[in-house]
């Protein structure tokens, strides 16, 4: 697949840029990040971790920038992201590893639901152009402009504080007091119960973009001659809608990349409001405790996750649109 290979090459370049930025940024900034970290940890770091930090940021090792850069790559390829200061003595990789799956499952599920639901609604609204359904658009605009975390706060206030539909105040990924992680019904039930509100937040906040995008494409597609022909031939209405929608959905899938960046950003903040034990909460802690290795590690992991999701969307696109396959 020529197209996919090209995309793969592009994602490799992007990953390379992200890693390089991660390395060079601390070196370009004024001040010494290691000194800042040692100061903010208030003597909690022992000699060995200070030495490890200095080695990671290349302070006082006397190595050239280039040598440090290669060293950084070597460490990274071994999966070594350094040690976390705030979660000392855990390494960054361990800390992220324990939080990552919560986020991947929550955000992944919510994004897929939002995309499918939004696309279906958008197709319907576009099909019934000029009807009452068009009034959905201004409403979705408002929802789109609401920051995720604000929506999260409101939902938390309404459904957890006011009416105790969902577990409240000390919102976590699951009930940590009564259950242990594993395949037992108590834990799974608790985990799902705790995920409903965050997932609802992400769906509500992100669905508007899919609705508007699909509606606009649907309106444009319906003016195409082949749809007119399908209608004129007397095909059943559902078939005609299917033909139009199948073509209209393509830009939605190809704009998945842009949308994902927003969804990820919003989801991180959503987690924060619900104290969900995922990457978002971890990132906030890292920012507040000036845990540079952890911030960097999280940035890299999120970037890789986004690239993987994009590759998936590209694959789907190639499967759906025969024109991309013909090029080869």
């Amino acid at each position: 697949m020529y197209v996919l290979a090209r995309r793969l090459a592009f994602y490799a370049v992007t990953a390379y840029v992200a890693v390089s930025v991660n390395f060079f940024l601390p070196h370009m900034m004024p001040g010494d990040p290691v000194e800042t970290m040692i100061a903010s940890s208030a003597g909690q770091l022992d000699q060995r971790s200070v030495a490890a930090l200095k080695a990671q940021f290349g302070v006082g090792t006397g190595q050239s920038l280039w040598a440090q850069y290669w060293h950084y790559w070597g460490q990274l390829l071994q999966g070594n992201l350094g040690i976390s200061i705030s979660k000392y003595p855990s390494t960054v990789a361990q800390t992220i590893g324990s939080a990552l799956w919560w986020t991947v499952i929550l955000v992944g599920t919510a994004t897929v639901i939002s995309f499918i639901l939004g696309t279906l609604i958008g197709a319907l609204v576009g099909w019934r152009r000029g009807s009452m359904l068009d009034n959905i658009l201004p409403v979705t605009t408002f929802f789109q402009a609401i920051p995720y975390f604000f929506l999260a706060t409101v939902l938390l206030y309404l459904f957890a504080e006011k009416s105790h539909v969902f577990p409240n105040s000390d919102f976590k990924s699951y009930d940590t007091n009564n259950y242990v992680i594993g395949w037992n019904p108590g834990f799974v039930g608790s985990a799902v119960g705790h995920a409903v509100l965050p997932a609802l937040t992400i769906v509500l906040a992100s669905i508007a973009g899919w609705i508007v995008g699909m509606r606009n494409m649907m309106v444009t597609t319906m003016d195409e001659d082949y749809v007119l022909v399908a209608q004129a031939k007397g095909l059943p209405k559902s078939r005609v809608i299917w033909y139009a929608a199948r073509n209209a959905v393509l830009p939605s899938i190809s704009s998945f990349a842009n949308a994902l960046s927003f969804v990820v950003a919003g989801s991180l903040l959503t987690e924060l409001v619900y104290s969900y034990q995922g990457i978002g909460s971890l990132l906030l802690n890292a920012v507040q405790s000036e845990d540079y290795p952890l911030i960097q590690g999280i940035f890299l992991i999120i970037t890789f996750a986004v690239l993987a999701a994009n590759l998936l969307a590209d694959t789907v696109y190639v499967l759906l649109d025969p024109r991309t396959r013909q090029e080869a």
Binding site: M29, A145, P147, F150, L156, T220, L268, V287, T303
Partner: protein, 321 residues
């Protein structure tokens, strides 16, 4: 102005005017500074404190009035910087093509795929304390992640413009490249540029509020609605029942975003008239005394019939667009 006749654009403009007013006069109208203890903690809304007080005893109404200016300045400044970047990069890539295009397109695509918020948090975490409170610096940093979308759209528009006859003609009579770009290409891109400017401004607004909420910028200077949300979250305003404290800035941010999005919709419909509920809405048809179902591809157009007969309603003609 044709564009003003669009209801969405008009609504967006009016909303935006309210926010501009608030940004200019808000701090003057505020009874107290944003961070001054003027009452007891957790007071409910009252005559003295319209929106109640915070956990520290600050006046929420004053915090609200003070919160608009910084957001508006940073959003629009960032929108301007990012739009200039995207015009320069997008038009250059589309017009010159070749190797420059490949490179610039790839740059734009990389910035599009990189998750912007974590990226900005990483950049901000290394800034010295003074940098985190600088309005101009924040606007510049946010625009760094905001230009790519506009550049890509402008590039593809430029690509199609470049092949038009009038651009060819300008080239043949010996105009220089920069002159063709500035006087032939860019003027034809104005609606697209405007749309991309609004989108970027909207993006910058959301991003700045998010950055403040996370605490990746200085949360107290400049004071903004993001700061209010940060403290409301940190002090558990929702759990303590002080819902105005987090609802006021949240709704304000959402409305500001809505006004920008409505303006953008108006421009989108200006560029692509098909997006409008073309011709007549069902309501409009009923008012004209017609029973008609909207059919795909067929846009009902109302025309006065040639010979006006009293009892006969206007004739309806179906046209394919």
């Amino acid at each position: 102005m044709r564009i003003l006749r669009n209801r969405k654009t008009l609504a967006g403009l009016i909303l935006l005017a309210v926010f501009v007013f608030l940004a200019v006069f808000g701090p003057t109208l505020a009874p107290y500074p944003a961070l001054e203890i003027v009452g007891n903690p957790w007071e409910g809304p009252s005559g003295a404190h319209w929106f109640g007080t915070t956990q520290e005893g600050y006046d929420v109404w004053s915090q609200f009035l003070n919160g608009d200016r910084a957001i508006l300045i940073i959003s629009f400044l960032s929108g301007i910087i990012a739009t200039v970047l995207s015009v320069v990069i997008g038009v250059a890539a589309g017009y010159f093509g070749g190797l420059a295009d490949n490179f610039l397109s790839m740059l734009a695509n990389i910035f599009l795929v990189l998750p912007a918020l974590p990226f900005l948090i990483v950049i901000n975490s290394y800034l010295p304390a003074g940098g985190k409170s600088s309005t101009a610096l924040m606007a510049a940093i946010i625009s760094l992640t905001g230009w790519a979308w506009g550049a890509r759209v402008l590039r593809s528009q430029t690509l199609s413009l470049r092949k038009r006859d009038f651009v060819d003609a300008a080239g043949i009579i010996g105009e220089r490249s920069w002159r063709i770009i500035a006087f032939e290409v860019v003027p034809n891109l104005v609606p697209v540029i405007a749309s991309s400017f609004l989108f970027t401004t909207l993006y910058a607004m959301g991003t700045y509020v998010a950055l403040t909420f996370v605490g990746a910028v200085d949360v107290n200077t400049p004071w903004s609605w993001g700061s209010m949300l940060f403290w409301a979250q940190g002090d558990q305003a929702a759990a303590s029942g002080a819902w105005v404290w987090f609802a006021a800035p949240g709704v304000a941010v959402a409305l500001l975003g809505t006004s920008l999005a409505l303006l953008n919709f108006g421009i989108d419909e200006f560029i692509n008239p098909r997006l409008k509920a073309a011709g007549l809405t069902r309501k409009g048809l009923r008012a004209a005394g017609l029973h008609h179902r909207q059919t795909l591809g067929l846009t009902p157009v109302l025309r006065p019939s040639a010979a006006p007969v009293a009892a006969q309603p206007a004739e309806i003609i179906e046209e394919t667009v």
